[in-house]
């Protein structure tokens, strides 16, 4: 299988900066995976995301999307394969209505109007925003805005969806709505999802977690492999999920709890066994 994303030895330094924002990053992502890129503010996560669809061109190294090298010539075709939802719900709207906004990307790509209309409808349905098609985007809540932004991405039928801290400015309800939408999209099996986040509970839902710091890739693995390394996560400015904090705490209190990462449901079961056997 051709990896959907392959990054080879990527390095990038912003103008006026002495330290590289990205240093020798190499990684491979298989199609259909949900990958969480985690790291504190300024660790290089967003720079990496912007390189994947050519918003920033690498100074050295290569990006391959679906087997194709990202170049000045291929960037337009590649951008059709990758959609990004950005952090701020307020800075990504151009249309006067929700439906116009969702259609904007397709208009740019010359999709015929007859095809555009059903695609806008389908995308709005997918994010549960059909009732708002004629509303003004500015008047929506933060969570609704991000769902519309996601509909705009879905309407272009991308293979990869990047969510660049798309939930970090939302209230709990908005965050919950966007995360459950991501879970639904994963179930369709049609997309590779890359979520860039410092919300460890969101990262727990991913198949793979990539930890970045100082523009470098620190480590990668399944959530279970990453989350047991609490000290390391803390050292890089992150926390561990609650279930892992509790498991570590119980270990220290000499409780005979499991020796590997458990999500909340598994932890409750494990603890109940220990309770019943006492």
């Amino acid at each position: 299988m051709v990896p959907i994303i392959q990054v080879k030895d990527l390095t990038y330094t912003y103008q006026n900066s002495k330290v590289p924002a990205l240093q020798n990053i190499s990684l491979t992502i298989e199609p259909g995976q949900w990958v969480a890129i985690v790291g504190h503010n300024g660790s290089g996560k967003s720079t990496l995301a912007q390189m994947l669809n050519g918003l920033i061109a690498p100074q050295s190294g290569e990006v391959y999307i679906d087997g194709e090298l990202l170049t000045e010539e291929s960037v337009w075709a590649i951008r059709r394969k990758i959609g990004i939802v950005f952090q701020s719900p307020d800075n990504q709207f151009v249309g006067a209505t929700v439906a116009d906004d969702v259609a904007f990307g397709m208009e740019n790509n010359g999709v015929p109007r007859a095809e555009m209309i059903p695609r806008v409808q389908a995308a709005l349905e997918q994010v549960g925003m059909t009732a708002y098609a004629t509303h003004e985007p500015a008047r929506l809540s933060g969570g609704q805005k991000q769902r519309v932004a996601l509909a705009g991405v879905l309407a272009q039928r991308p293979q990869v969806i990047i969510l660049d801290e798309a939930t970090s400015m939302l209230d709990p309800q908005g965050r919950h709505d966007v995360v459950s939408l991501m879970t639904d999209l994963r179930k369709t099996g049609q997309f590779t999802i890359i979520s860039i986040t410092h919300d460890i509970d969101e990262a727990a839902l991913a198949d793979q977690v990539i930890l970045m710091d100082n523009g470098q890739l620190v480590t990668a693995g399944t959530p279970a492999e990453i989350f047991v390394q609490g000290d390391m996560l803390q050292q890089h400015g992150l926390t561990v999920p609650l279930s892992e904090k509790v498991r570590q705490g119980l270990l220290q209190a000499d409780v005979n709890v499991a020796d590997h990462y458990l999500d909340e449901e598994q932890l409750v079961k494990n603890l109940w066994t220990l309770h019943s056997n006492k």
Binding site: Q87, E165, Q173, L238, D254, N256, L267, V268, L271, H275
Partner: protein
Amino acid sequence: MDITFKQVDYTYQADSPMATPGLRDVNLHFQSGTYNAIIGQTGSGKSTLLQHLNALLIPTKGEVVVGDQVVTPQTKNKELYDLRRKVGLVFQFPESQLFEETVLKDVAFAPKNFGKTAAEADEIARRALRLVGIAPELEDKMPFDLSGGQMRRVAIAGVLAMEPEVLVLDEPTAGLDPVGREEMMTLFVKIQQERDLTVILVTHQMDDVVRYAQQVVVMEQGRVLKTGQPQEIFADIPWLHQHNLELPSTGRLVQQLQQQGFQFDQVPLTVPDLLAQLAPQLKQVATHE
């Protein structure tokens, strides 16, 4: 500085067909020098309430008493000059309000505006910058050349430079990573203690509420639903669900544990609480022998 709300109503676009209630019969007391949290869903009236604290909005009915200043529907704008200086508001994403050429100028803007000489204003600004942890060598930089976290600190210093007695914080940690959030919350405690401020925090981060607040105010549809200490507010999980309020991060796990059959005397609101109540109920490694 004590703050009291007495039967406060606020109506948006009052006396028009578009009139919508913002606050309804709000009665509240924030005691001088305490740390208070206001929680509630988006649209519950938290921001409307905040804007009454420094009279950005004045009540449609009732009165707000801030220190010795009484604000009623009849209060004129020019009477509010002192009050606005005494109550410092830190809005969400305050860094978006930075505008001056240098960090020092930005922070000195408010004291200059409130009548201090340039030298006095610079001196006040420097003190505020040190308090939020901005080093002297950053003073001549453009605010926009700083990192996001530093910009937010500078914006907060700008509010502190007014030397307020009340600090109002609207979601001050939104968008920060876990370490940045922790640093920011610790900073507010330090500021509160050093300057003996009354703090009023609006947040969705219930762990911060549990950890820092002495009084919690729960808003719903423009009304005060409940006030109390964190333990009183967060002990009743079904009540929180009923009103669509978030739980502290331990809440969901505690609930699952209860459903499984674990018993807790008092609902644990923090991880150390939870561990202290849980560990004795579980089989220990040492009991094997």
